[in-house]
């Protein structure tokens, strides 16, 4: 799907988007409070949060669609007090994007390219290339009204790229795409970021998507920023609070379940063992809560448990540290704020 026709943009500013203390409320409801983060050129920043967490409000503020009550942001050196100049630097795929059904994809991109001040000739060249990149070149002269949801989503991404933005905002870009389409799109996002040097803000409900493509992540809950940093940092910081408390899941051969339970109960770091499901051999272990002594503590405990099973010649089929994934971190952090 992706052609390698772009050359890498040389961006002298490593930080293409800086947000400081953005705040917004609707009446008495505080929709966003103190949003502060930095996005570097060539990086992908994931925005995570449950419904109503403030993701869309954040995106709308950063794309100049609504004004923050306080705080400011800077896009490629341009402050938020110059929204029109910022719009020249950004590309946006909103969550619910409507399309004029009576236009063809090529006409649509030509129209938007010209609205950015390009001539028809300039826009035609880039539009053809973008349609090729998003896999719509064959259908470029078909009416958009005849497109399916996935095709419209691809066209929306092409439109977001028509002005060759420095920062690209994508709000739920893979929504409604088939698995192949999702994979292609994530590849395109990675390519635009890594090879073209764009800063990308990716808003998604799909945590696996954020985990697989994002360098940094911001987690929002009830309008507050509950975590930010690289994906690894956010997981690591949260693990210090939740991993040791929550425990482990492991799967052994169903025939060995009884023996495994007996051994695990005798292991000092395990406080409770329970079965998950009836016949598949999954066990849930609750662990002791030792004083945190650094990241190596979790491995010591895990190794002692696994070692006991291996010595007893019990085959281990699966092993999972609870709280070791971004999903666990997300659930933990968003639950805390909501409750």
């Amino acid at each position: 799907m992706i052609s390698r026709g772009y050359s890498k943009a040389v961006n002298p500013r490593p930080e293409v988007l800086v947000a400081e203390g953005l705040q917004k409320s609707y009446g008495a409801r505080l929709a966003l409070q103190g949003l502060t983060f930095t996005l570097k050129a060539g990086h992908i920043l994931g925005f995570l949060g449950p419904n109503g967490a403030g993701k869309t409000t954040s995106i709308r503020i950063l794309t100049t669609m609504i004004e923050p009550e306080s705080g400011r942001f800077v896009v490629d050196g341009i402050g938020s007090e110059h929204p029109q100049q910022i719009r020249r630097k950004i590309g946006v795929l909103p969550e619910n994007l409507g399309f004029p059904g009576q236009m063809t994809a090529l006409e649509y991109l030509l129209y938007f390219g010209q609205l950015y001040g390009q001539t028809a000739a300039e826009t035609t060249a880039i539009a053809q290339k973008l349609l090729n990149d998003v896999g719509l070149h064959q259908r470029r002269n078909s009416l958009i009204g005849t497109y399916g949801h996935g095709m419209k989503q691809r066209l929306g991404i092409a439109r977001a790229l028509i002005n060759n933005p420095v920062v690209l905002f994508l709000d739920e870009p893979t929504l409604g795409l088939d698995p192949r389409g999702q994979q292609d799109l994530l590849e395109l996002i990675k390519y635009l970021s890594r090879e073209c040097g764009m800063g990308v803000v990716l808003c998604s409900h799909m945590i696996s998507e954020i985990e697989s493509v994002c360098d940094d992540v911001v987690i929002l809950s009830a309008g507050q920023m509950v975590a930010k940093g690289t994906v690894a940092e956010v997981i690591d910081r949260t693990q210090q609070n939740i991993v040791l408390r929550n425990g482990l899941k492991l799967q052994v051969l169903p025939a060995s379940v009884a023996k495994a339970i007996q051994i695990l109960k005798a292991t000092p770091s395990v406080t409770k063992v329970s079965r998950i499901g009836a016949s598949e051999g999954w066990l849930h272990l609750e662990l002791i809560e030792p004083v945190y002594e650094g990241a190596s503590m979790e491995y010591k405990i895990s190794n002692s448990i696994l070692g006991a099973l291996v010595r007893a010649k019990i085959p281990i089929m699966n092993f999972e540290v609870e709280g070791g994934r971004l999903q666990d971190v997300f659930m933990h952090l968003t639950e805390e704020v909501i409750t």
């Binding site: 630097k89 409507g98 390009q118 000739a121 300039e122 002005n163």
Partner: protein, 292 residues
Amino acid sequence: MSNEQKMMAGLHINKPSASALPTWWLVFSKDATDLWIGGKALFLVFIYTVVLGIVTYVISNSGFSSPHFREMTYETIETVIEVSLFIGLIISADSLSGERDRNTLESLLLTSASRRQIVVGKFLATITFWPVALVLAIPTLKIFSQGYDVFGESLLWGGILGSILVLVYVGLGMLVSFWSNTNKTSYVVSLGMYVMFLIPSEMPEAVQNGVISRTLEWINPLAAVNHFFSKIILNNTSFSEALVWIETPVAFAIIILGILFLYAAPGLRLEGGRGSKPWLKFKQNVDKGGSS
């Protein structure tokens, strides 16, 4: 290296080209095309021709005879303008709130295009129906005027005053659409305004003899224009004597277009209603000032 060459080479270009088309023209071209090809303009103009045909039939069979060619011409031009204003309101009421409803406004506002030029382009596209409506009325006017000078008079004054009223009504419709979050609200408010102006203008002359009635008639742009027509076409009054009756429509046009293009248009937003209300913005500023 030209912008096109830079684009082909894959380099970033963020500066507009000097030879690019203006935003208002792009928006006008697209909206006019949408309106006339598969849009609602053709349908509404079809309805208009049907109404015009019915009115022609009714007037022809209402007992007016040849000596009453002035009355027949007057009735026709009045109907042409009133129906055209209805069409103008319907189209303009959809112009911005309709885009909000269809989720197409956001992509337009996300571009670096000037908000005022976007509104100008949409306004110009909306008024394209009026020349068509006027041209379609010519055969009827020609038939009823029976070769007398009244044809030229009615076409001239109908064209001028109809254009002024179309600017007023389309401007009003766009303002309502500008501040409405949904098309439903926009249509209801616009039609309410249409009826509010139409009903007093349809009152019989006998009811409008008092000073208050005359003043209300003068204030209402549609009623004032109808009165002007009655003076010029029916009573053959001189232009200078009837001039007072076109002051209101002209003033309305200046005020409404001023509000639309100078005040409202630069603040065109994704959300109508609350977010666009200037007094809330003012209150926010006062609160900020107070808290600091």
